[in-house]
């Protein structure tokens, strides 16, 4: 019987199946950060247990770490304690690799894993972070877990899971100039809703996806969780294999050919059937931006703030009204008239080298608008930072008026001091526009790096496609 990519990944990791249908799934790679792991290690110790396979672990500090003044260390005592706790825990458990605060390759775990070749097709990858879906771009079954499950994986190298249903999202055609994977992701979430794929594993397929770089595929899979899917997948092709060649933790020469042969099987069979399917015409996707407090509250940049009166479902209408109040927006306002106070370019969604190159190309030789209080560029990792500096991108950002920071999660969730103040409005390349997400009372508009760059230059939300045509 023809199988989907998800079926293949699932079946190849089932250790045993309970009568209830629940399966014990073997976990190949365990990514660990400082925020969601301390209680898991504590539980492990309390039960007198040890890490089952320390060589599956890649750990780094990313959520809490400062992105400036590294010479001062971590000034927040709580954050410092959490990061030092990770140091101690990893020293005790062992790991394949650990990138502590200020290590050369430290960074956001979902940027670090792939760029070092530690994310490979056919693997199961988990992390105490919902954006673990990012790694599905490599045809790996990757999903976020809570801290109890972090402990479960540490202790047993497995997880008890019910299989999800399968969901094919087919995208055909060419994305227009100025339209990127982020716009596509926001468009899909707008179409199916933030719970649209709950209970499903998404596979993104079609000619548009085949033409995408690994960076763009990661952006798309990263946002799968904002549509409710724990997992977003893309099949293996030459782009995947070329990307993995020669990376630090990629298979060495003695195993490379065997690995590639295996990886090539990581795609859905031609006749495989899915539980649900959606088709998207790439040619019709436009630069897209969120107006509200949920990633499904999206609108074409040429559109207007929606009118809740048009919504017939009373609960949804109240949700829209609440979002409008929080965002301080009036229905009918043109999106391009919304003025911006801060710009954030970063996060596991959009802080890879390709993202930074796109921004640099747009802001080169220009200045950010006078009304912008702060414009941050936060590279996803030390590796991204070095590469950007090698290409001179840092000088372009600094000359334009951006701050060039050290790597980390930064203002995506504002656990460190990079955050919005009450009432501030931000053009952000991150993934969540929830109330208070980037700082209490802060207002987030999610968009692509190109759109963030354009907003920084003009001081208001701006249609990048207009500037390019």
């Amino acid at each position: 019987m023809p199988s989907t990519l998800y079926d293949k990944l699932w079946d190849s990791h089932v250790v045993c199946r309970e009568e209830s249908g629940e399966c014990l799934l073997y976990i190949d790679r365990h990514l660990i950060n400082e925020v969601t792991s301390p209680q898991a290690f504590e539980g492990l110790r309390a039960a007198g247990r040890k890490a089952w396979a320390h060589a599956s672990i890649i750990a780094t500090a990313d959520h809490n770490t400062p992105t400036d003044h590294w010479e001062r260390g971590i000034e927040d005592p709580m954050a410092r304690e959490q990061v030092e706790t990770l140091d101690r825990n990893i020293r005790e458990s062992g790991s394949l690799a650990y990138f502590p605060f200020q290590a050369a390759d430290q960074g956001i775990v979902h940027v670090v894993g792939p760029e070092l070749g530690a994310t490979q097709p056919g693997m199961t990858i988990v992390c105490g972070d919902s954006h673990t879906s990012t790694h599905g771009a490599f045809a790996a079954l990757a999903f976020g877990i809570g801290t109890s499950d972090v402990e479960h994986v540490l202790a047993t190298q497995t997880l008890l899971m019910h299989k999800s249903r399968s969901f094919a999202i087919t995208v055909e055609g060419e994305l227009p100039l100025g339209v990127y994977a982020k716009d596509l992701a926001l468009t899909i979430i707008g179409e199916i809703g933030t719970a649209g794929a709950t209970g499903y594993a998404i596979e993104f397929m079609g000619s548009t996806i085949s033409q995408m770089s690994m960076e763009a595929r990661m952006t798309l899979c990263n946002m799968a969780i904002e549509a409710g899917a724990r997992t977003g997948l893309v099949a293996v092709d030459d782009v995947t294999i070329d990307y993995l060649k020669g990376r630090r933790y990629s298979p060495d020469d003695s195993n490379w050919n065997a690995a590639v042969d295996y990886w090539r099987t990581m795609r859905s069979d031609d006749l495989a059937t899915f539980d649900r399917a959606v088709f998207i015409d790439a040619n019709r996707v436009r630069p897209t931006v969120t107006w509200g407090t949920s990633p499904e509250m999206v609108v074409n940049i040429q559109g207007q703030v929606p009118d809740p009166e048009m919504e017939r479902d009373a609960i949804k209408r109240q949700g829209l009204e609440r979002a409008l109040r929080y965002m301080d927006l009036v229905p009918g306002t043109k999106m391009t008239e919304i003025q911006i106070d801060k710009v954030f370019i970063g996060s596991c969604t959009n802080a890879r080298i390709e993202d930074l190159r796109i921004v640099a190309q747009i802001v080169k030789g220009k200045k950010i608008a006078r009304r912008i209080l702060q414009a941050l560029v936060v590279p996803g990792s030390g590796t991204v930072k070095r590469q950007a500096e090698l290409e001179g991108l840092d000088s372009i950002f600094l000359a334009a008026g951006f701050e060039w920071r050290e790597p980390g999660c930064s203002m995506c969730l504002g656990m460190n001091s990079d955050r919005l103040n009450p009432g501030e409005r931000c053009a952000s390349t991150s993934n969540r526009n929830f109330e208070g997400r980037q700082g209490m009372g802060g207002r987030s508009h999610l968009l692509s790096p190109a759109m963030a760059a354009a907003a920084a230059l003009t001081g208001h939300l701006t249609d990048i496609a207009e500037g390019l045509s």
Binding site: Q82, T198, R322
Partner: protein
């Protein structure tokens, strides 16, 4: 974890879709390396008028009178009723830790985000999913009364409303059994340790690059 067989408690209403885990427990509290102490910060940005930080004495903080759960009738409530996609967003288990410490043992909703639901069940919080119309009816009924106590019986998989009406719910048998017994997943899984080793060894011989270095 503590077994959950039957819960009789006041129903508290949070009439919103898409309540995310950032709202349930804002990020600044995730700097704690403990599992406890989060209950006083549950829904912090909605619940209080000032900004909360770890270590502050919440009994002195000004409460937001407009926040539903601050109403007198909901103090001591153990069952939360909400709408769709509850617990979306971040995978932080700090959110269910906070809800449990706040006092909620059962959450009834139209739908839950997956990671959040799993986290609840691992901490002994029962999630009950009901049809949209049933949830709406519950909201309408409960609004009419100050005291509205519901009985949730996990053995029978039903809810009993104050007027005696019963509503049946479904839940995976494995999940039900674990909650009823308060079983620790890790202990159960380690009963399969030899099968995990076997699986690992066969994987290592067929896909050696996954285990190199």
């Amino acid at each position: 974890m503590t077994p959950l067989v039957k819960e009789i408690g006041q129903l508290a209403l949070l009439d919103r879709n898409n309540v995310d885990t950032d709202a349930i427990l804002p990020k600044q509290f995730m700097k704690s390396i403990k599992r406890s102490g989060f209950g006083q910060f549950a829904f912090d940005e909605w619940r209080y008028l000032d900004t909360g930080e770890l270590g502050v004495d919440c009994s002195e903080r000004p409460l937001n009178p407009d926040f539903e759960l601050n109403q007198l009738k909901y103090q001591g409530a153990t069952i939360l009723l909400t709408r769709s996609n509850f617990g979306c967003g971040s995978s932080r288990e700090h959110a269910p830790w906070a809800l449990l410490e706040y006092g909620f043992k059962v959450i009834i909703a139209e739908s839950f985000a997956e990671i959040f639901r799993g986290n609840c069940l691992k901490n002994g919080i029962l999630t009950v999913t009901l049809a949209k119309e049933t949830v709406s009816r519950l909201f309408d009924e409960a609004r009419l009364h100050d005291e509205y106590k519901v009985t949730v019986d996990l053995e029978k998989c039903d809810l009993t409303l104050p007027d005696g009406t019963q509503i049946i719910f479904t839940i995976e048998s494995s999940v039900r059994e674990k909650l009823l017994n308060g079983w620790d997943d890790i202990g159960l899984t380690l009963n399969h340790a030899s099968r995990i080793r076997e699986f690992e060894e066969s994987r290592q011989s067929s896909l050696p690059w996954l285990f190199s270095k």
